[in-house]
Symmetry: C2
Subunit: 603 residues, 2 copies
């Protein structure tokens, strides 16, 4: 029996691309076309902002009437095209066509493409019939990448060597439903004039063969153009509304119709195909990656906290609970205890990236029931400012790197969701306010309703936003720290600032070595020093009105009694929030892959 | 108001280390000692296997009696020491001691260390009084790293410049409870003879100052030596047993006592401090990292599937369910549907790393209720073998890299959990068996009870193990693929092998383009091609006896009707399993950070 038993069983069922090994070592995200372009033509394409807007179909507010007419015309054309497609189904290839075999449904037997032409597997985004002899298509690769394809019937009789393109083939290609997945053989050529509608504007593809790999339906639940518009209604009142029930309800005064979040989510595949969504997703994943790489370079070890826990340990009622065999289980609200267990367990610096859950019935743009937490915890060598500086450092690193890497993507997102350019502090110019200073600023220079905010009460969301505006105006930054929160605003594990208390007058506000960080006036991080002595911890738990012997708490305190735990601190970042507020999105729901809200669990 | 409002409020409450910036750019995992060593002495230390075993206290089976006596003596010494410690509490520093201020509880005012000596923040692992003038301690940094510290009372009167070490100071240091966290000032010197018990054997630290940062209790729930022994009983029958209730129950014939999983988990901090646990954790995290980096280099995009889902979508009853506001929520069993949604949503290659949940009441070494899934999905260009080769490639990459990076750690794990060296195929010599061939092998050359295994039935766990033994013997590898599983053994989304069915005889077994991958005879991966046409998918769902209109399924099928979805396939890897089986651990519970079983949710 030979060791390799595999090859004899290889019967290709789809398309063969000669010269392409099935597992190429460097598979570029944009497929094979870009590298081929680069090799043959040594070009780099650029897209002006204007071209991009055209492509996005989210047109700028100039020449409204013209745009409106254009949009209508496009819509009509699309409708007509679809109607035509229904009459002449894509599968109908004329039997006596000389181009037969160069187009149609993908056959089950292997196809061998010939010559030095290019093979592109892509989504057919739109198609347009120019004449009986000519049609145009827009082909989209992953991300924000489109190119025009042109198919022209060859003059008869065809030259010996040239590929045959027949009129039925032109008609067939023009009739492919938008968003179908196709494979085309084509030659790269210069268009007569730049193709403004496509991201690649200086080249086009002369299609010589075209096969349908996966047909889209004649009627789409929503169009790509709509999926690339801003979500007009974030309400998810109607639970599990089906596609089509509430369809493209609001029509903007210009451009393609915009849809509600319900329509977007009910058409999840189309939503995800929109370049703006892919840009947000790419930025999100890179933020995770930057968090991880920054910390790994500084000696942090990753660990995995559990999602299922045995007790609603941190107090509060916002826990999901479920039957768990003979007992009850809860979903973790944060990895707080587990981060500290890792420190108690002999790690000096740890971080985790994990889902966390909140059973809060909050239907706001800042809340989800499931989101991704970026968390870290570290030994403190001198004082807790080490933790503050590190967290400030990792956030600024993420923001600066994203700004550097994703210029195009940020521009694209801003063309759909307009926002001001984010202001970050120069290195060494970071803004760190004491909580009391922040409150004073609000009292003295904030809106009238905050004239009497107190130093011993937590900040409300409106207060935070007002503070953000003040800080931006005074210090020219959208990112800043508020430190030394009052103990009333912090959980039991927050370490009190002993030094301040010792030196302060009777009745002074007790503060903690704990801080929040803000972006555009919204909280994105909570952090600080934790209590590491069991007696001190137990006293604080009691002071907060919690029984130290209650389930979950007892095991937590016990860990500090079991072994000597070094001084430590850390913080937690909501990934969804830093994505949303960094990009100036109106809701964290827009930053998530599959947003979970009290009313929505699908898809 | 100045922009930086921070510095004036900095009142250090702990220790100051001059010359060390609080946020050093390159913080080495092993703290400051190793780099200092390297700089001053240009040495690299090596530890022989024998030395390591000594350090581990998991002694080899030679000279049993001597070892036993030694172990007993050590235990007695430790007890005596602890008794002494209780009589002379660590906090009692003699007031008229000339060394006063050089040792003791960490003061709240800043301490300034002087001179060119070394500062080490570490866990004091053991201590031993040699005489009234001399004591030894073992200091442990993160991971498997220990060094001997020696403290000797200075001759009186002391020389002018030299630091003062008094006899009370020696006694105080020797009385520190094991596993306390300390900071020491010391000078590096050569020991008289190599320190076999410590990982760093050719150097020791002459301690000049020592402060207690976090004291451990006099009596530990379990010792580090025990935490570094193999777990002797993986049963977790007693739910939530408290530390001490079932203490160190089984005593091996040699070395320190070994404990059950219950004792290990009830003493979570001590368990995590054991070098063997940190080695397993480091390997686990690197496996995740290697999975990610291999895929990113090949154009895969990460995404995040939800944990909370609205329907028990993949069928089966092993779902955790919970009240979710006005509806019901489930915990995801796999990211299968969501991976496919990403492909439908215009991504060509995606992967995810996320927790998955199974409400299976299976109390076996192979099962947990929560574990980490490494998943990927990709467009298929030619045929599904692209998916198979890629998954095989990523697994072999992980195994080979871990072998290269973690030689020491693997050796350490094997010294605690003995296993045979893993056999991997040479590149190009990968073993890929058809399912029918695997069954034939079992029938013809396997144990007698498998003489009649059938080609249309899934493999049982004992069958898999027997096959693993046969493959190892015949092909010299512990890693292999079994391909073309019968359709009865696969879920509805598995693509049937149309080509085989068309060419085969009446009544032949229907097979799928789906495969499993095995390590040491245990399944670690399931993968294959998925159905991408909605009608075909619906037919298979019906054929499996599931209603395509049932909750969750309807939305899934709908996605394929909404848009054209390219041919695709993928696979899922259980991270816990590849860690456990790669290292030859007896249970996946030993590979997890916080194992979740039907009876255990704590800590």
């Amino acid at each position: 029996m030979p060791v390799c038993l595999w090859n004899h069983a290889l019967i290709p069922t789809c398309l063969v691309e000669p010269g392409k090994h099935h597992e190429s070592a460097t598979y570029l995200p944009r497929g094979i076309l870009v590298p081929l372009f680069r090799r043959h033509f040594q070009f780099t394409y650029t897209v002006s902002q204007q071209q991009q807007r055209n492509m996005d179909e989210a047109a700028p507010p100039s020449k409204k009437a013209a745009k409106k007419a254009e949009a209508k015309a496009r819509k009509e054309a699309l409708k007509a095209q679809r109607a035509e497609a229904r009459q002449a189904p894509s599968s109908a290839v004329e039997l006596d066509d000389p181009a037969k075999g160069f187009y149609g449904q993908a056959p089950t037997a292997p196809i061998v493409f010939q010559g030095k032409t290019i093979i592109l597997r892509a989504w057919l985004q739109t198609s347009r019939t120019q004449s009986a002899k000519m049609a145009f298509v827009e082909l989209r690769e992953e991300g924000n990448w489109t190119i025009q394809g042109v198919v022209t019937a060859t003059s008869e009789p065809p030259e010996q060597e040239s590929p045959i393109v027949s009129r039925p083939m032109v008609r067939w290609i023009a009739g492919i439903n938008p968003e179908s997945f196709v494979v085309v053989e084509a030659e790269v050529q210069r268009p007569i004039e730049p193709v403004k509608r496509c991201r690649v504007s200086n080249f086009e593809l002369r299609i010589t063969r075209c096969y349908l790999l996966a047909p889209a339906p004649a009627i789409l639940g929503t169009t790509l153009a709509t999926a690339n518009r801003p979500v007009v209604d974030l309400n998810d009142e109607a639970i599990g509304a089906k596609a089509g029930v509430r369809e493209e309800e609001e029509t903007d005064k210009e451009g393609p119709p915009a849809a509600s979040m319900l329509v977007h989510l009910d058409n999840i595949a189309m939503r995800k195909r929109a370049p703006v969504q892919q840009a947000i997703a790419d930025i999100r994943m890179e933020m995770k990656h930057l968090f991880r790489s920054y910390l790994k370079a500084r000696g942090f070890k990753e660990f995995e906290p559990p999602s299922l826990i045995g007790a609603a340990s941190e107090g509060g009622s916002n826990f999901f609970r479920m039957p768990y065999f003979s007992q009850e289980a809860f979903l973790a609200q944060s990895p707080q205890f587990y981060k500290q267990f890792e420190i108690a367990g002999g790690r000096k610096r740890v971080f985790s990236i994990a889902p966390v859950f909140r059973a809060e019935n909050s239907n706001t743009p800042r809340h989800m029931t499931e989101f991704t937490g970026l968390d870290l915890e570290m030994e403190i060598r001198k004082d807790y400012s080490e933790v503050l500086y590190l967290l400030e450092g990792v956030l600024l690193y993420i923001f600066r790197q994203v700004h550097r890497i994703f210029k195009d993507e940020i521009e694209l997102v801003r063309s759909v969701y307009p926002s001001s350019e984010i202001l970050l502090p120069e290195p060494g110019q970071e803004v760190r306010l004491m909580f009391t200073q922040a409150q004073q600023l609000l009292r003295e220079e904030g809106p009238a309703e905050f004239r009497h905010v107190r130093d011993d009460e937590d900040m409300s969301t409106p207060q935070e936003k007002a503070l953000g505006a003040l800080v931006r105006q005074k210090f020219n930054t959208d990112f800043y720290v508020v430190d030394k929160f009052p103990e009333t605003a912090r959980p039991f594990y927050a370490k009190l600032d002993d030094t301040a208390a010792a030196g302060s007058a009777e009745g002074a506000v007790k503060v903690t070595n704990a801080f929040d960080m803000f972006l555009r006036g919204q909280e994105i991080l909570s952090g600080g020093q934790r209590i590491n002595h069991p007696d001190e911890l137990e006293a604080r738990i009691r002071a907060k009105g919690i029984d130290p012997a209650s389930p979950g708490i007892d095991g937590y305190v016990q860990v500090f009694r079991q072994v000597g735990v070094p001084p430590h601190g850390g913080g937690g970042i909501g990934l969804d929030r830093i994505v949303a507020w960094y990009l100036g999105l109106p809701s964290v729901h827009l930053a998530a892959y599959y947003p979970r809200t009290p009313r929505r669990l699908l898809p």
